[in-house]
Subunit: 285 residues, 6 copies
């Protein structure tokens, strides 16, 4: 298996631990997210390790790419359990987590794993869809219910901060308005406020690629028209510098539905910017 | 056949009548518009019925999707006649029309049908191309001549209001400047003025998907670089609230040339926003 | 072979000479640039010759499309030599050059050919990548080293003006800061200053299509996320009016990796705008 | 939803009941089998109802297409249970079953459902792969273990007759030689013998499309080179005339991996030939 | 426009005249046949002019490729008239015709044109489909009715010899059995007999590419499973040596639905073999 | 990098050495052969290591996959030299070579390397094309000239045995008839004779995937209609048992032009069958 660009090789010394969660468990429109971790790794070798806009280099970040969690197809519960155990273990050892999905449901395992150590966790959620249904297609565990389940995990459901949401049923939007910190079609302004409030509390970030416009990220299972731009997203990533991010996931990239792998390339660049922004400093100091 | 999301089932009580006009009659570059009505219907089930930005729900709009007008291939004139008859009949019964093409030539049938009832009709035309040629590839009836024919139908050709046009031959642009209300590369500002002037006169809207940039709407027969953005278009749709729109068509989406059906998804979302904007109120009142 | 839209037929009287350099010599990610000249020509017949935004028509520009330089595959050096000879010959006869690549390495041949006549040449370089490596994949001649080689050709390496660069290794960015006129992530403002400084000195423009965002130009070998928009580029082309552009190349369009040929269509439109902007006046005068 | 060509509408009077089992549960290489039932139905309208080679017409077969079993994604066990219940119910009412998958694991539910009524069932299995593993990717329930589980259901495992198998691990081939009626690379000759032996015992037929060569059936998840031809398969279907086939499934067609839908078209034609061969007589008599 | 490989340039001296009839007039499943003439010409340059199996070379055949008949889209009748006129004119000058479609309806124009000179014409028809309907999708002029119309043109409808037909409605097959010389699923044997009977009467050959199996010719509008092989077809072409073939058409190749242009390549090779077989001798003598 | 299925890890003890030569040096129609080695390796993990038809297992073959020779793009001569050196070195150590291309020109390097040790080498060449031109597109080194260059290397050019050739210019076919052991359109019969004559002399086998019909191997640069079938090829591979094969190459698979990777899967299966046939025995003895 190809490792992510400039991955270190040692687990013990790594501050950040990257792994793939190649699930395609709960597809409703189009699948293919299971291929994302490997294709993103492959395309990472077609970008530079250096970020001109950040002035930092991935070479200076302490991280290791451990490969993929093995998926036994057809049993979502055992898969969630497996990913949660892995994350719990890493978090217990003081590692910061960078998980590459996979469909969005894996974020539930990510949050559960991290929360085992950080009970006062905040979650920042960037997505086109609110993902707040209670049931979807007959199940409580789905990409469309994942943030409802996440909200239930948190000490207070208002610690789920949702940004740039532009799609949802009437019921879930109303539920969100009452129960989570939901921001419809808004990104930068509310995010800055939230960041101020969070301070140095532990944070988990869940980034669904479909928060972006389908023109810049066509390779995803349920594209939703009229999304945010890439530069908006990169601004957001920069705002996070200084936050105590203990977990980060990037989900729902679907290489088979992409054109010329531009969505996977973007995924690789997002990972690079995240690691340099959040991981670079600690190394320098 | 799959109906459009949340289509009612009764014709008699419906304020809006939706149908498909699956023509591919006059292709010059790439065809495939005949597949648009069914693919847009299919993708409509992958968006929500609720619009967070409008705060309204398609469930509250009185409309019915009647399926497609049957196309006897290879005879444009009989096809235009058939669509015109259908529209004339619907308009005669006081219905508002929402037609999904098909290539742009079907707009001529749509306008002719509506004008049978509303002789003082205005037409709002959003397109990359002026479509004002007199002849094209040997024919007076083509996607490239359709707005010339439409102008000839109207009581005054200046009631043809064209927005965001960014392509045309020198001759047709000059003809347009003299004969229609032509706005090159401009959208929002002139549209607001026109809307004020029109007041509550009956309006037909013809929306060629290629008015959008090819990045957001790649699935079309003759994409033209440097188009408008999706949020510009959605703003425009909102401006129309209050206009007396008696007919609306969405044309030139070509699913076989698309990537991951994002253009058809966008088409479905446009239809939703149009129906909620124009149809929601009348129901509430 | 199909000629570019409205190509004249006479070499002697043409002010601008267009030709294709269908090389795919030094691919690292994905190839296909060899097909660009012919696909761009083909798609040129699906846009108009008239530019509404410039108010000019390609019919009024004195140019001829001579077809492609014959490529003997597998020998980059002899190919560079051949293209350089062709350009030297054209420049010697007072022609202005418009070369359609091909991979970016052909720009080296273009610059060498033009510099044979214009020793005080400035180069304007628009690209996602700095292309300033000394070696790449074991070679000094590659799409990733081409601007280093170009810098070495110029009387002063600071006459290489690089705009909108958003990717590069730390080493090449630092080398660029010392040796070229490198502008990271910036376009319009520094360009205007440079244009003022250049005055009527001879200029060669090298435009790598990947300077644009992958959403608007997906058909390229090494797309780089977060690029400039089409309207930004078209603004830039207009700024050049009045510059003494003696050579222009458009490189790295890769039709096999495109969607619905939108990148090649864009290439055709760029060529039209360039020729009308730079070539229209001289004809009128 | 589009019904299969010439589907009747009444359940009570139908001899054959067709339904789709759109599962994609246990993908190891490429998915997409979930889309097969609907695409096969759609393509069925592009073939004729009449079979020149059989001299019969689908119009004369008593069958009804009931649509798809609803799939709650991500829980294979509950899905198997649901399909099994459906089949048990149909079989209990004396219906013959025609199930369109979905991945091959659904055949286990089909056999279990049918065997509830016919304890002396024989199974005819046509496939590239033996599918006789005990475990695969950590699970006992997978497209690669399905026939091992089927063999365990049958009164005698030698009643599992496997034809044209051309791929398997050494272990599963050896297990098959001891425990099932396994025929490597052979089709017509052993099949005729088996048909003679079976007489009028109840039979379930499981047809994995990858028994065919990838050239004629490229749209499948795990194509295996050097398969049988279409005319070989159609001969086999004719041999079955007179057999007491109480269940039939067609699995592993994957439309997203197909070219021009030729595999789905072939699937539609197989269904037509099966229904005319097995269902036509009972109607005539 | 690229000419077919080794096309001569003089009309007057050419024994065979080739032209394209790029119609897509009467699509029911998938279009794209309009692109076939140009793609076949392009791919002809990727095969050799020499045929090892025939021992002849296209260089020794007297033929000229005249390009395409101009298509005014959307009016089938005027298009048929135009093609018929062209063929009538060529036939009147003693030319032999090789027409590349386009959809199958153009064969009607080809036969009508040729019959103007040769009233005792026989037609050899190779196809998956009988194409003998009287009406199809509301029209008497369609790819599905074309041979019914052709039969009506001939002095005796039994002079329409149909081979390898494997699809049709019950009605059209029965009509064919009574009225044409229809051979279901049979090719070589009946063809040899027919050739003996025809002697040196004038013959028109209409070859629909879908007579071949979809595996070897996937790029067609209505592929029909279980077709003949390429070597069967090439045998057939050789049998025709000595026949007085005055017209030949190759129709229904659809490049947009192909894989790697293999169907167009095959089309180019068929044209080569036909011209060397039928045209080579006359040159030698 | 993923290794080929069941690759050993030790060079010293391996009888066979596998490596990739990812060249795309001399493309005339379509490229992409550079991606073949890695895609074939990847797909090898989707077939079994056991061959039911041979009764052997890849696990029992002594081979190692060493990865790819590094390609410095754009310089064919240095690449040929590098591959030749590698092969010379391996052959000198008594290894048998299995090279995966890459375009066909790499076979020249393979033969040159092997011949350094085995001066009395015979070459068995399976291909659609004779590849016997002296020059092609201005070069003596190309996929179309490679066997002319190979013939010049051999002690006697009649030791170049060419099978199933179905395409070539008149000149190269005539040159082949005089100078090589050329068999047009024939495979099995002449091969058996040649095998008898060769006895235990050292043999190099060069297998161009386009010897197969495009239906079974569409993923190749220059497909040629009417090729041999997969079972014909697998018979041929079995005949070779007992031959003293010291080198084997498989070339011209082009993944970007394939459908569902079936050509690469076939390539993986060919490699498995070759290694079990030629490598299995020697291990057992």
């Amino acid at each position: 298996m190809t490792r992510f660009l400039e991955s270190g090789s040692g687990f013990a010394s790594a501050e950040w631990v990257m792994f793939g969660a190649p699930s395609d468990a709960t597809v409703s429109r189009r699948g293919g997210a299971q291929y994302a971790p490997d294709v993103i790794r492959c395309e990472s070798h077609h970008i530079e390790s250096y970020s001109p806009s950040l002035g930092g280099d991935l070479k200076d970040v302490s991280f290791v790419d451990l490969g993929n969690v093995f998926l036994s197809p057809g049993d979502v519960q055992s898969y969630l359990t497996k990913v949660e155990k892995v994350v719990t273990s890493f978090a217990g050892k003081g590692k910061r987590i960078l998980m590459i999905g996979g469909d969005h449901l894996v974020s539930l395992a990510g949050v559960r794993g991290v929360i085992s150590k950080y009970s006062d966790l905040h979650v920042l959620h960037f997505d086109a869809h609110a993902d707040l249904r209670d049931f979807y297609l007959g199940s409580r565990y789905s990409h469309a219910t994942v943030m409802r389940r996440v909200a239930e995990c948190l000490a207070k459901s208002k610690r789920l901060h949702q940004f740039a949401i532009r799609s949802g049923s009437k019921e879930e939007i109303e539920w969100g308005k009452r129960n989570t910190d939901l921001h419809l079609m808004q990104l930068s302004e509310p995010l800055r406020k939230v960041i101020d409030e969070i301070g140095d509390s532990p944070v988990y970030v869940s980034l669904d690629i479909d928060v972006l416009d389908p023109s810049v990220a066509p390779g995803t299972g349920t594209p939703e028209p009229n999304g945010i731009g890439v530069s908006d997203l990169f601004d957001v990533l920069r705002y996070m510098k200084g936050l105590n991010v203990v977990g980060f996931d990037l989900v729902e990239i679907s290489p088979p539905n992409d054109v010329n792998n531009i969505t996977s390339l973007l995924g690789a660049k997002i990972v690079r910017e995240v690691l340099i922004t959040l991981g670079g400093d600690s190394v320098d100091q």
